[in-house]
């Protein structure tokens, strides 16, 4: 890529020679204290730390507060703020057209769990190579406080009254659609969000991150399960992640008790420190059971809920297309010859 002088001498730079500022976006217009801004900060930190080439990243989003947020990070990346609930289709088209792109999809609970549930599940079904972040606050912010489909049963909101429908669990839906990387986190837990993001970028196929991201304006009261106070008090991490880039020397020769190593598709490794000794994130049935038990007990479990690098191919492999991105194929490849046309005509 073309290098641009952005970092003052002496500033801390990443592998591309860029300092953190190069990974910023426009100033946020979200409410002060919004969980989404915290997630944007995590994305910037991780992208910088991993030395992601922003020009090869695309930020895809739907509609809603969450979907506005790609404007506020990675300013050197193309972005497409599309239609409500239809980010997965746009992302699928883009990453099929250009397989070299790293796709960050940002969605919300309204976008993913209501209007876009179908596209969400079908993107998972296709295993579209992307990081799919749901900034989940249980409420429609931009339209001023209606319940979303992830709001808890019996939850009260000033505008919307009492919610009498059970929530849709994004991680459960992802698992049911055969997602190969499913994680839940909390915007108020920066360390965990960052470690999950790093692992997600190394995952082959779709990585779903359901991040509880409090809405400070409409849904941050203490009895809301989408509030900062609830999250801080109730968060129960299943595991702690250490992300080891592929260029780092692996020093762990043998697994310690309570640790689990997962080798990612691109050669990186994540080392999971099990906080819950019985939790194995490669066991899908156990993942279902754990999510359901947490729901019944109103527990806020976080961490890597399920991961499997070998379960099934991603969309790129399924399509069995050229190593050269389709958008880079020249006319000589794209347009068959005159002789070919004559042969086709002769066969009709």
């Amino acid at each position: 890529m073309v290098t641009i002088e952005v970092s003052p001498r002496g500033a801390k730079v990443n592998a591309l020679g860029l300092d953190k500022k190069a990974y910023q976006g426009a100033p946020s217009t979200l409410c002060k204290g919004c969980g989404h801004d915290s997630i944007s900060q995590r994305i910037m930190n991780v992208a910088w730390e991993l030395g992601l080439d922003q020009t090869q990243v695309v930020k895809m989003s739907g509609i809603g507060c969450s979907s506005k947020s790609p404007a506020y990070f990675l300013g050197w990346s193309h972005a497409f703020n599309g239609l409500h609930g239809r980010m997965p289709a746009l992302a699928t088209g883009a990453v099929v057209a250009n397989r070299n792109l790293t796709v960050i999809g940002v969605s919300g609970d309204g976008d993913t769990a209501s209007i876009g549930t179908g596209q969400f599940k079908h993107a998972i079904r296709r295993n579209v190579p992307m990081v799919y972040i749901v900034e989940n606050n249980g409420v429609y912010g931009l339209t001023k406080g209606q319940f979303s489909a992830t709001a808890d049963l019996g939850q009260k909101l000033k505008y919307a009254g009492v919610n009498n429908l059970p929530p849709l669990d994004i991680c459960m839906e992802a698992l049911a659609a055969n997602a190969t990387f499913v994680a839940r986190s909390f915007a108020g837990d920066p360390k965990q969000v960052e470690s999950l993001l790093k692992a997600a970028f190394s995952h082959r196929g779709i990585a779903v991150l359901d991040i509880i991201s409090p809405c400070v304006t409409f849904n941050n009261h203490d009895d809301s399960t989408k509030s900062y106070s609830w999250g801080r008090a109730q968060e129960t991490p299943l595991n702690e992640l250490n992300f080891i880039p592929d260029y780092a020397e692996i020093t762990i020769d043998s697994q310690y008790e309570g640790e689990l190593q997962v080798e990612m598709h691109d050669g990186t490794k994540i080392v999971l420190k099990k906080l819950d000794p019985d939790y194995d994130p490669t066991d899908k049935l156990n993942a279902f059971r754990t999510l359901e038990e947490a729901r019944q007990k109103q527990q806020f479990i976080t961490g890597l809920i399920y991961v499997n690098e070998h379960e099934r191919p991603d969309l790129h492999e399924l399509l069995h297309f050229s190593d050269t991105p389709l958008v880079h194929l020249p006319e000589a490849v794209l347009r068959p010859s005159r002789e070919t046309l004559q042969q086709v005509l002769a066969s009709l």
Binding site: A71, H78, A79, N81, L90, V96, N100, R335
Partner: protein, 617 residues
């Protein structure tokens, strides 16, 4: 179907003087209506007949009238032979092939006076008409004698009527054999099994039927030489392939699925990397039409030539993405193979009822470029041209075909190889972005044609990125709610549409010296309109003709309207949608425009068009 049955004398003799005197008139000049049960495999037999007649040099057109059903309901195939080269629909048929007990009464009743009926002798036959010749054929017995494998029996049984027709009409067996072989891609076994059945039926007919009617075929020349026989959807798919399509996303819907089928057939053949065996394309069957167009827009935004194919209900679902493509200025191509709406309508019947919906698809101020192919050759041409236009104009292009053109086989001129390199439009490279420094604005109209320069995701320069959104934005793609930004942008889009007027294929015009009347039509109405003009000419009415190939229209349309006293706008829908668009685009010519529109599931016929025009003169 209405014909003059009731007016015919009840007991007219078969060899009526009228028919006998003009026997030559019935050589290569009649229509065959084949009534079968859908799902029985009659499509193969019908296709074989059409191809054999085509290869004998006879101008033919086949129209499939089929139910929205998998198996068991009535289906008809109407083959029109026209020594004069008329390929449009004809209102009546002279030869009935009755293989379906459920419709046999109606099928026999509707044969034109003096016509013939070839029927399965096991069917319950209603009272015979005196003005029709009947040829019973023992289908069951012939199939039994052929001793066919049980599972193939019903399918191959349809070859009985092929053999009977071959004898009665004089279709060359060699051409039938070639057509069967073609149908089975040269595989000898099915070819032999089917041909054997044809020969048995032919031999039986030769021994048992006494030909006593004037309908027959003869090898001829002057029309089919150098031509091909192909359906519009296959042509569309091939055109897209020669236009460099890389991403296809679609959702199954009649009558558009065969576009995707043809892409699935030909793309692997024509666009696989020889060294690696890997595809230079991607086809995705989406979960619905919203996702189908969504993937196309995502791919188009990333720089791919992407398309989808759908029909009316799917187009409705695509409305929101159509608006996004228009406003965010993303190239995309939709093939809308129109069928009857509203709602599920008649899924297997043709119509041109999406013109208005497609032109203005989506909320807000939108207008889209529409292309109207008239024949397979033009389907091929618009297959690649649509991408050039979409990328040049950075917008959605909708190609409006219809079931009649898309799913039926037509005699067509061979496809012409694209006459120009691909136009990839205004796309900046990293180097160009660098040279422009900060001055590049994604939505800045630097050339005055309303088309701004875009960059593709993945362009390796920090300044190449921009934020694409359906919300308000300024020239630099920054979010904006300022009235002046909104208005300026929307007006630029209108300017871009003016540029589109100059870029889209112009109308095909035939001016007739002294003609007071003009006809404007689109797409697959062309052959019927051409024939209607001949009928009108025979009645002493000369007409000029303009076939629109695209919207928006250009100034040629106004000139054409101004040159004539009255303009008949012919289309296959109830409300005269094209006429309404012309009225709004050329309001000063309003009083001259007369809508000639109807929608009943059939392609328009020349008789109806000529009659409707005469009533409005």
């Amino acid at each position: 179907m209405s014909i003059a049955l009731q007016e015919a004398p009840a007991q007219q003799k078969v060899e009526s003087p009228a028919i006998a005197r003009t026997a030559d008139r019935w050589v290569n000049n009649f229509a065959i209506n084949i009534a079968t049960v859908n799902g029985s495999g009659s499509q193969t037999s019908n296709g074989v007949l059409l191809r054999a007649l085509f290869k004998m040099g006879i101008p033919v057109n086949g129209k499939n009238m089929f139910p929205s059903n998998i198996q068991g309901l009535p289906t008809w195939y109407i083959i029109r032979l026209s020594k004069d080269g008329y390929l449009g629909r004809k209102e009546s048929y002279e030869v009935a092939v009755c293989m379906n007990g459920r419709t046999v009464a109606e099928d026999m009743a509707n044969v034109a006076p003096g016509g013939i009926v070839i029927y399965d002798d096991s069917l319950p036959i209603p009272a015979r008409r005196g003005d029709v010749t009947y040829y019973p054929v023992p289908v069951g017995q012939l199939v039994k004698e052929a001793n066919l494998p049980y599972e193939l029996r019903d399918y191959i049984a349809n070859m009985v009527y092929v053999g009977a027709l071959a004898y009665l009409l004089g279709i060359e067996l060699k051409e039938i054999e070639d057509a069967i072989s073609w149908n089975f891609s040269g595989r000898p076994k099915p070819t032999q099994l089917n041909m054997d059945m044809v020969r048995r039926a032919y031999a039986w007919a030769e021994r048992n039927l006494v030909k006593s009617d004037p309908f027959r075929v003869e090898r001829m020349s002057g029309f089919n030489e150098g031509k091909i026989l192909v359906d519009g959807n296959t042509a569309a798919a091939l055109g897209a392939i020669f236009g460099g399509v890389t991403v296809v996303s679609w959702y199954p819907i009649t009558p558009a699925s065969s576009v995707a089928d043809a892409l699935n057939k030909y793309l692997p053949q024509l666009r696989t990397e020889p060294e690696t065996g890997k595809a230079t394309f991607a086809i995705i069957q989406a979960e619905d039409e919203l996702a189908a167009l969504g993937m196309v827009v995502g791919a188009g935004w990333a720089g791919a030539r992407a398309m989808t194919a759908t029909s009316g209900p799917g187009l409705d679902l695509m409305a929101e993405f159509a608006g996004l493509a228009y406003f965010a200025e993303v190239p995309a191509v939709i093939w809308d193979i129109q069928r009857i709406g509203p709602s599920t309508g008649l899924p297997t019947r043709t119509s041109q009822g999406d013109i208005a919906a497609a032109y203005y698809l989506s909320h807000g101020d939108t207008r889209h470029v529409l292309l109207f192919p008239a024949d397979p050759k033009e389907c091929f041409e618009f297959g690649w041209l649509a991408f050039d236009l979409a990328e040049r104009l950075q917008t959605l292009v909708i190609v409006l075909s219809d079931l009649d053109l898309g799913m039926n086989s037509w005699i067509s001129d061979p496809f012409e190889y694209p006459d120009r390199p691909m136009d990839r439009g205004k796309v900046l490279t990293a180097e160009q972005v660098r040279e422009l420094g900060g001055s590049w604005g994604r939505y800045k109209d630097v050339d005055g044609d309303g088309i701004a320069y875009r960059t593709l995701p993945g362009t390796p320069h920090p300044l190449a990125a921009y934020f694409t959104r359906g919300t308000g934005h300024d020239e630099y793609a920054r979010y904006s709610e300022r009235p002046e930004h909104w208005e300026a942008n929307l007006n630029r889009l209108a300017r871009k549409f003016e540029t589109a007027r100059r870029l889209v294929p112009g109308p095909i015009v035939e001016r007739v010296e002294g003609a007071r009347y003009g006809i404007i039509t689109i797409g697959s109405n062309h052959p019927a309109v051409e024939e209607a003009r001949d009928l009108l000419r025979a009645a002493g009415v000369e007409t000029s003709y303009m076939r629109l190939r695209a919207l928006p229209i250009n100034e040629e349309v106004r000139r054409f309207i101004e040159e004539h006293d009255r303009i008949f706008v012919v289309e296959n829908n109830r409300d005269g949608q094209l006429n309404l668009i012309l009225l709004s685009e050329e309001p000063c010519c309003g009083e001259k425009l007369v809508s000639i529109a109807r929608c009943n599931g059939w392609p328009l016929s020349a008789e109806w068009i000529a009659d409707a025009i005469q009533k409005q003169m």
